[in-house]
Amino acid sequence: MIISFKLNNEAVTITTDPMRRLLDVLREDMKMKSVKESCGEGECGACTVMLGNKPVTSCLVNIAQVEGKEVLTAEAISETPIGKLLIDCFEETNAVQCGFCFTGFLVSCWHYLTTNPVDDVDAIKHAISGNICRCTGYVKIIEAMQLACRRINEGAIS
């Protein structure tokens, strides 16, 4: 089946089995290695990508569901102003340890900051509730997000 969609702001058309997972197409065909597989059941969030302006676990998405939609991965998000700011904040609060989950967190956190960057711990916890980190215990990730919210609200991004 021929499937066309936008990947990181570029139009792509592929011919593939319509039942393949978006995760596999991104990793294997498109070489987007930021998209990682861990649980394969939507529990861990390591494969999070933006699909049509919403963060989703790409292991639960079938490539046929992506026809005509826009996909953004951490590769593109990390190049945006808010993506760069987020990475700085994660570095400053030591919120990345082994790093495996980080690209998934980056996508969920970027969505939060681009839609409603409120420095509210409960709202931040809810926004990252689909992403699992086994190193940090989340405290530093939440600190990184609060720092990013404050910087955005102080006008760090023009």
């Binding site: 319509p18 039942m19 939507g42 989703v56 639960l60 079938n62 046929a64 569901q65 509730s129 992403n131």
Partner: protein, 269 residues
């Protein structure tokens, strides 16, 4: 496994009339895992989440009309639902995780027919009706008559859920409460779930994860509706007639029952 992508709802219904027990793929949060693990594989998969006739949320004839492929997040965020039925939008905030509720659809949650489906107790107390479509036309059925036994429902071959209708109630005419008890707050499968509504005339109470499929607790409701003085021991006796909690890897029977009792008492006080 053969993949089908119908061009319109009539095309889709035609296809369903011809295929033998296909999978309908909308959000894919259940089916895509089954495909991955090769569990219960079916011969045909029909994509439906691109069909505009099945999407969206609107009001008609005093009812909320929710399209089959509306996602849980769309419903929770919908301005219409927030205004007309904040009970539903607030209760769906903790459904799975934001990453899953951006994909999972309401009709998928209903049709999957799981005893633990999060939306069903809520929709039961809201007296939701399902619109079931086929090439023959459509029929409406109350959600409380949709399930027949564990994981089974009344859908005929060639039939699909096309929308969900919820009667709009004036916000000052009822009080409501929803509780989902799981191992943790986020991304959890319910050990017990209870939805409550109290109007001037009646109690409506429905349970998830406590019966073979989510059900209204009709004996409990009748006892509460007919008795001014509530005796806890009698209430618990009628509760026993309504629920049949099981022990499994997620929780045990005694715990589920105790949680159910506690929340029941809390709500009626």
């Amino acid at each position: 496994m053969k993949f089908h992508k119908p061009q319109s709802l009539p095309d889709c219904l035609c296809l369903l009339g011809k295929l033998k027990d296909p999978w309908l793929l909308a959000g894919g949060t259940d089916i895509n895992i089954q495909i991955r693990h090769k569990q219960g594989i079916k011969d045909d998969v029909v994509l439906i989440n691109h069909l505009p006739e099945l999407s969206g949320i609107k009001i008609a004839d005093g009812k909320l009309i929710i399209g089959a492929t509306a996602t849980i997040k769309e419903i929770a965020d919908s301005e219409i639902i927030k205004k007309e039925c904040p009970y539903l939008s607030e209760s769906l905030v903790d459904f799975a995780s934001p990453l899953i509720s951006n994909l999972a659809t309401i009709a998928g949650n209903i049709a999957n027919s799981s005893p633990t489906a999060d939306t069903i107790p809520l929709l039961l107390v809201l007296k939701a009706e399902l619109v079931l479509s086929s090439t023959q036309g459509y029929r409406k059925i109350a959600l409380e008559n949709f399930y027949t036994s564990y994981k089974h429902n009344v859908l005929n071959p060639g039939e699909m859920i096309s929308s969900i209708e919820i009667p709009i109630m004036p916000l000052d005419s009822y009080t409501s409460h929803y509780v989902k008890v799981g191992s943790r707050k986020a991304l959890t499968i319910a050990k017990a779930a209870l939805a409550f509504i109290k109007t001037k005339d009646e109690y409506r109470i429905a349970a998830g994860s406590l019966t073979e499929y989510p059900k209204r607790l009709l004996n409990v409701e009748a006892y509460l509706n007919n008795n001014k003085e509530i005796v806890n021991s009698k209430l618990f006796d009628v509760l026993d007639e309504d629920v049949s909690p099981i022990s499994d890897f997620r929780s045990d029977e005694d715990y589920r029952l105790q949680v159910c009792r506690n929340h029941l008492i809390k709500f009626i006080k």
